[in-house]
């Protein structure tokens, strides 16, 4: 028993070793350690790294695709890192990546797993001297202008505004009165909290709309399906609309409504994933908000690239542009078709127009 097992193992190991070498994409970046004072990297020395949670949801997949497109436009390749929603793994990856050579010319476009993960990522990048752009999550008291000359910017979206926009769309569709159930995201994320605050602002403007119940479904489609099902039995025909903190949950709610045979209930979400846009076109969803994932994937790399090559002097960037809310778009049946096939406009990523989508400072 033992011997054949060992032999089989040896073969397996061999095959695997070969496989590893093959599947690893062929970028043998001859990393000549660049003399890296802020912004003196020659373009070919720059390493572009995009890191998101995983490639198993359309939004983040689109993000990476956007990054790839930008990288291609400057003749580089983007290294993909995914950490499967695991904060520890995200930090391990970042530190390990930055432990390589030539990292003074690395550009990182990172989606931190949660607010708490931003600080260590910033610290690690700062220590390694890599150019960093973070998106979405950041604790309020940590800012790029506090002595970080290579943390170019933090981009996020006004979650309160997004929550408000879709709430308004929902209330409008309900005719200004009725009951709403809310599906919250993971409670300890600022995204979930801000978006819910937006819903509450909208509700305060419409006292005739009642919030029947709020439950968390953890940004998760399957969980949203179950929670919605339960809430539908609890509140029955009082439910006039479902407000969800992201599209995945909204789509779960749509399924629950369909399974319950209920029609005419509006459902809104955030993120503008293709399925949601399709649902809006089909009329099963009311509205969503787009942050433009491909743009996010590209803009972070573009900012870092411009800073690394020296075309953008980070010290000259106004504080308002180093941590800003980016423009977001409400998508409803009227404009859904336009967003069905998002396309990058490469002009957006010229070093001079990097901050065009900034709508204002965070706060």
């Amino acid at each position: 028993m033992r011997k054949p097992t060992r032999q089989r193992l040896a073969v397996l190991t061999g095959v695997l070793a070969g496989g590893l070498l093959l599947t690893a994409c062929a970028d043998d970046s001859g990393t000549s350690s660049a003399s890296g004072d802020g912004g003196s990297c020659s373009p070919e020395d720059i390493t572009l790294i995009g890191q998101v949670r995983n490639q198993t949801n359309p939004y983040e997949a689109a993000w990476l695709a956007g990054g790839d497109e930008f990288a291609e436009s400057v003749g580089l390749e983007q290294q993909h890192l995914t950490y499967d929603g695991d904060s520890q793994r995200q930090q391990e990856q970042i530190r390990q990546a930055l432990a390589g050579s030539g990292m003074e010319c690395a550009v990182l476009n990172v989606l931190p797993n949660g607010d708490s993960d931003t600080a260590p990522i910033v610290a690690a990048a700062d220590e390694a001297g890599a150019f960093l752009v973070t998106q979405w999550n950041k604790p309020a008291d940590l800012n790029p202008w506090d002595g970080y000359d290579r943390w170019v910017s933090h981009i996020t979206y006004d979650g309160e505004e997004s929550g408000y926009l879709i709430a308004k769309a929902l209330i409008e569709q309900m005719g200004g009165s009725g009951g709403i159930i809310a599906l919250q995201g993971i409670l300890d994320t600022s995204a979930a909290q801000d978006r819910f605050a937006g819903l509450q602002r909208a509700l305060s403007e419409h006292p005739e709309v009642e919030l029947l119940d709020e439950q968390t479904a953890g940004f998760d489609r399957a969980e949203a399906l179950n929670v919605t099902r339960t809430l539908l039995t609890a509140h029955g025909e009082h439910v006039g609309g479902v407000w969800a903190a992201n599209d995945d949950m909204a789509l779960g709610a749509v399924q629950a409504l369909e399974a319950a045979g209920i029609t005419g209930v509006g459902v809104v979400g955030i993120d503008a994933v293709p399925e949601a846009i399709a649902a809006i076109e089909a009329g099963t969803m009311t509205a969503t908000v787009s942050s433009d994932g491909p743009w996010q994937g590209a803009i972070g790399l573009a900012m870092g690239y411009c800073a690394a090559t020296g075309e953008l002097d980070v010290a000259d960037v106004a504080n308002d542009d180093r941590a800003f809310f980016a423009e977001q778009f409400l998508i409803d049946q009227t404009n859904a078709a336009e967003f069905a096939e998002p396309e990058l406009n490469m002009d957006d990523f010229e070093c001079g127009s990097l901050f065009d989508r900034a709508t204002g400072p965070i706060g």
Partner: protein
């Protein structure tokens, strides 16, 4: 062949009295297999990305491995007793929240109460396991939910930032610019715990309970105490891991350490400790933790596509275990 029925007969299947040369070599090989696997993986991965073999990269890896190592070393003690502790990830998260909440008032000394609280949490789980005779898998599965719930309640379901991070600087710095302090702490835990296991009867008791609990009980060993203590150690280690996590993320969060549970168990098994108890050791787990971290970070760094990465991880982990596991020491495979 049981010796009962053939007096003065050695069990042929077990280690012969005078091991001949080749079998001794094989046994030594099995013993050092985890280290060999680590080296082989390192070399393989560095073929793709030579940067992995630099001193900076290696110390970074060791640094990343430190919290996992501490967690895994703790659960090793429980596994050696023949139990399992699924609560360590949740407990580490709970510890991170406590740490973040208590740093303002206690500064760096926070590690003491946090570790104590977590040790106590472990002891409580161990006690329930013993007193109610509920399998440890279930007790700690319940614990996993409970500690997460408590962490959420204590933190108000949000991230608790540590403003005075200097207080925890000691847990995340480089001694002399190169040696990660977290690694020193982790190895310190291993050395201290290892010394306790080696130089006091505790280690033997743990192994006895893991190998043959009825025999240990009938020899008058404090079986219940040993098991409870093992859960206490596991809890304490989870607490310390929580502190280490806070030091490197600058905040505590109710789900911070959750994702480290399965890698920690994998580290223990990859290190060659028998999941059925009795056979194994702490140093093996240290090597196991390094292997796991290498796979966790190394695969994406050499550019393995996101889809293939978990596949390689799964396959490599299975291969690693199939080589490191000492089948002669494992009676039943479940």
């Amino acid at each position: 062949m049981s010796t009962d029925t053939a007096p003065e007969v050695a069990r042929p299947s077990e280690a012969p009295r005078q091991p001949d040369g080749s079998s001794r070599v094989r046994r030594e090989l099995v013993r050092f297999m985890p280290l060999i696997i680590l080296a082989v993986l390192l070399v393989l991965l560095s073929l793709r990305n030579p940067d992995l073999l630099t001193q900076r990269s290696l110390t970074t890896m060791a640094d990343s491995a430190a919290p996992l190592m501490v967690l895994a070393v703790g659960i090793t003690v429980v596994i050696l007793c023949g139990g399992i502790d699924l609560s360590i990830g949740a407990l580490a998260s709970f510890a991170s929240v406590l740490t973040a909440l208590w740093v303002p008032s206690m500064s760096g000394a926070v590690v003491v109460p946090v570790v104590l609280v977590c040790a106590l949490a472990g002891v409580v789980q161990g006690w329930i396991h013993i007193a109610a005779r509920v399998p440890s898998f279930i007790v700690t599965l319940g614990g996993m939910s409970l500690w997460t719930g408590l962490a959420l309640a204590f933190s108000g379901a949000s991230t608790v930032a540590v403003t005075d991070i200097a207080a925890l600087r000691w847990a995340f710095t480089r001694i002399g610019g190169t040696v990660p302090s977290a690694l020193v702490i982790a190895l310190g835990v291993v050395v201290v715990l290892g010394a306790v296991m080696r130089f006091t009867p505790f280690g033997r008791w743990v192994a006895s309970v893991g190998h043959a609990e009825p025999a240990a009980r009938l020899a008058g060993l404090p079986v219940s105490m040993v098991k409870i203590a093992a859960f206490g150690v596991s809890g304490a280690c989870a607490g310390l891991a929580g502190v280490l996590l806070v030091a490197r993320t600058f905040s505590g969060a109710p789900t911070l350490g959750e994702s480290l549970l399965l890698p920690a168990v994998a580290a223990v098994i990859v290190g060659g400790t028998a999941i059925t108890g009795g056979h194994g050791g702490l140093f093996r787990t240290v090597v196991g933790a390094l292997i796991v971290v290498l796979l966790r970070t190394g695969l994406s760094l050499i550019g393995v596509d996101a889809g293939f990465e978990p596949i390689f991880y799964g396959v490599l982990i299975i291969i690693a275990v199939s080589v490191t596991i000492d089948r002669s020491k494992v009676a039943v495979l479940k």
